[in-house]
Symmetry: C2
Subunit: 200 residues, 2 copies
DNA sequence: TGTACTGTACCGTCCGGACGGTAATGTCAA
DNA sequence: TTGACATTACCGTCCGGACGGTACAGTACA
């Protein structure tokens, strides 16, 4: 279960688009989405403002890309995990847990860009809303216990929201324990692949 | 389990402070936290900008009040529910579930003001972080099964975050079902007080 | 010759906040 | 009981700065 980030790219060789997206997320996290200015993004990304606006003609397009990137990255990982489980019963729930577990172990940065986008215009939530609705639907249809699947969804959503707001309430071990306990509800322990041990 | 809102006050008799806070939350929800301007808040609250600035000398103070109100309202309800359970085992978890259930049935508006505050300055998260840390601690110490308590916390956090972002993925009945299923993990069904039936 | 920028200058708008009123309601002292 | 002043709760205006976006001339590389 490899980390998704940095597939052959170090932070120097990121495409201009990705550099901008990353810079925007960083600034949003540091100073708050309100103070996410194009000037600041350009500076952080190592571009001129002209260059930034060449890549993303408006701020809205930038934010849109931030949301789009987030959703599509997650979906891609999810589809892979589902396929690895041959789309059998509970595969969607288990894939969801696996993806979250993986990105957690990867120390993926929280998607502060999402917050920035939402803060600028609640309308940016719509794609995420649509995606989540469809995901939850698929989880339940594919699960042997749909209600339990919903609980898993909510718990992961809880973990996500803690991470989004940088609420370091749970230690890394505790979070992993929570994730694994969720998984055990669906999958017998001996069927699990040996995962990377957690060393805080 | 009465609704907390409107304790003897209709929307006309709200104090100036409360009118402002309410107006701010509404506007933040409508146009997004970034575009929450003092002018707009003043207009909505039926004040001049000068009057608004008289009540809250800076925007930061307004946002601070928004956060403070949210935390203290929750804490007040929580303490009451705990007391009603005589602070016995699992009382914190059960109180937490009860409070969330009650405010859910009350159709409490989502605390969009919180998002606005965070959007302006991530530093506003600190009080919430502190509060949650202490709450989780208390939940676990008081619970017979601390890990399960943590799961409950996360699930409620998930429900909260869905509401915060207005993700209408779950119907009202489904959400109530989820909450009650959580409660059943801690409390035998026959010990529960007869709650208001849900009629969508 | 085009693509992908850099750099600078500039415009219009929006917003936070300061400031100077002012009307109503006390308070107190002669 | 009346005049002098204080306090509260606002109103309306204005200013400086930040920000999004435009325009355009230049440049390096392929």
């Amino acid at each position: 279960m490899p980390c998704i980030e940095s597939v052959g790219m170090t932070s120097d060789t990121l495409s201009t688009k990705d550099k901008i997206l990353q810079a925007a997320a960083e600034i949003a996290k540091e100073v708050g989405p309100v103070h996410l200015s194009l000037d600041a993004v350009a500076r952080r990304a190592g571009l001129s403002k002209g260059g930034l606006l060449y890549t993303f003609p408006t701020k809205a397009k930038l934010l849109e890309a931030l949301v789009e990137q987030h959703v599509s990255e997650f979906d891609e990982s999810l589809r892979k995990e589902e396929a690895a489980r041959n789309h059998g019963p509970n595969s969607v729930v288990l894939a969801c847990i696996a993806v979250y577990r993986a990105e957690f172990l990867c120390n993926e940065p929280e998607p502060s860009g999402i917050l920035a986008a939402i803060a600028n215009d609640p309308g940016f939530l719509e794609p995420i809303r649509r995606y989540n609705k469809q995901l939850l639907q698929r989880m339940r249809e594919n699960a042997e216990d749909p209600t339990l699947a919903m609980m898993v969804f909510l718990t992961i959503e809880g973990l996500r929201s803690l991470k989004l707001f940088e609420m370091d309430l749970l230690s890394k071990d505790e979070q992993i324990a929570a994730i694994d306990r969720l998984r055990n509800l669906f999958e017998p322990v001996d069927a699990q692949s040996a995962d990377v041990p957690v060393t805080a």
